[in-house]
Symmetry: C2
Amino acid sequence: MTAPDIDVLCIGNAIVDVIARVDEGFIEKHGLVKGSMNLIDEVRAELLYADMGQAIEVSGGSAGNTAAGVASFGGRAAYFGKVKADQLGHIYRHDMRAQGVRFDSGAASEGPATARSFILVTPEGERTMNTYLGACVNLTTADINADVVSAAKVTYMEGYLWDRPAAKEAFKLAAKIARAQDRLTSITLSDSFCVERHRESFLELIRNDIDLIFANESEIKSLYQTQNFDGAMQAIRKDCPIAVLTRSAAGCVVVKGSETLSAPAYPVNKVIDVTGAGDLFAAGFLFGFTANRPLAHCAQLGALAAAEIISHIGARPEVNLKAHARAVGLL
Amino acid sequence: MTAPDIDVLCIGNAIVDVIARVDEGFIEKHGLVKGSMNLIDEVRAELLYADMGQAIEVSGGSAGNTAAGVASFGGRAAYFGKVKADQLGHIYRHDMRAQGVRFDSGAASEGPATARSFILVTPEGERTMNTYLGACVNLTTADINADVVSAAKVTYMEGYLWDRPAAKEAFKLAAKIARAQDRLTSITLSDSFCVERHRESFLELIRNDIDLIFANESEIKSLYQTQNFDGAMQAIRKDCPIAVLTRSAAGCVVVKGSETLSAPAYPVNKVIDVTGAGDLFAAGFLFGFTANRPLAHCAQLGALAAAEIISHIGARPEVNLKAHARAVGLL
């Protein structure tokens, strides 16, 4: 087996974010739950878009954001995801490669358009996502390039993939290949409602095939169906070698066997848009982790990247995270 | 003749801006002149894009930005411009209508894609534009809806249209219809190199068919081939009923017959991206003008809108300009 030449391989839904600021009334009018991620069909997507104000388009997708973040820190990142061969797909591929992410998954030549998530940002910076998965439905086991998986220290996957049966199979295949090569596997639970939809199969996967899990407070509570954070933390301690539990402004807790450590959130002047906070936390953590930094340092890098992303619109870093981390003494 | 039910009709190249931050080295490497607008072909567009970093996409186009600004002030705005029936064209139309602009020009069903301008923003906030006109080449006299022109108090057109013969004819037809209906015509000179390319025909148009001209210092100097601003100002005074001459941080000068008035620029904390400064100045001015405000007040509204646009990335307002103007006591 050759030495890994990729630090983090991310697998997820390749989505272009369409972001608009809205007021509370818009959220109410459309019967949305603030802070949630909703899967919508094409008809609903057009209806919602027609009613939304002027928007900006930025490449997104949870694991895609993480890959971009790892690369921005100077890590070697790769990405598997499915776009269509259309204008938005072209933009998505450009943005990944421009950030230095290896992204060779073929584009679909037919079928639905490249996925879009209509992200509504309310004045306090919370985001409500409405995702039309489009071409992502075409992500299958055929897109799992075993050579790339084998070359990656960590294969990181978003829980959102679980919403499509073919993507779930692709995800499981990637985990199997990675473990057969003695590489590490990682997952983010993505969203508490996503956990709700797939609790049993998530638990089975985590117990058997995952080395490192990322979850926020509501996701980990949902996984174990408890309102008690400490109870959930003790449960995941038994189920997964390393768990990184984020708690927004309260920072994060990392549990590894009998070890437990906490790290604070990084200060932010003003929260503009929380989209991508978890994705970029994972990016910083995984960058540090694959560079063999201590867990506490990984958590600090995660917190720094999350703070950068919530201080502006969009879920891709606006600064070079390596330079930023150096400037504040974290690298 | 019925009363006009549109305040400002804007006609221009319908362009989606693809904006990335770059350093000075990138400008040098590609042999670009900072602050300029360059027309590029599809091959050059792809080469430049492939070398650019991660970008964001925002609807733009000079006169399109002005229409969006007029609507944001609460003015009744309409727009003529040509997109293709593709994803970016769909986005462009959405953004115009979402801002409240009437935009009914048909989309081209074949031919080149919707236009993109690759806008490179250097650290001090200057922008260098590289525009692939794409579907804009299909704007012709057939797109000039005489009913809409007749219904508009002012028909405002960008000088950039002059770069395509068919668009130039469309522009001249619109001016002719407007004047036949006793409506006002307005033009922006757009860019000093654009003036360089079309000086004689611009002068002929201005002397015969334009009521209100917008130009910045370098454009008006280029028009009269002089390095002396005062000389250019005296020349335009004879050639056009009203001239609005902008001078960046030094504010603007409005000349109308023997009258001359100056207005300061509106203060800005930090210049992030100057793209759209002139377009939004024109929006504020035209909004005030069509609401019968005194010229000094029109200039203040223009300065306010310009200040808003240069304080963030992208050339479409991020706030409601009417509310903003009210908050600072200008409306």
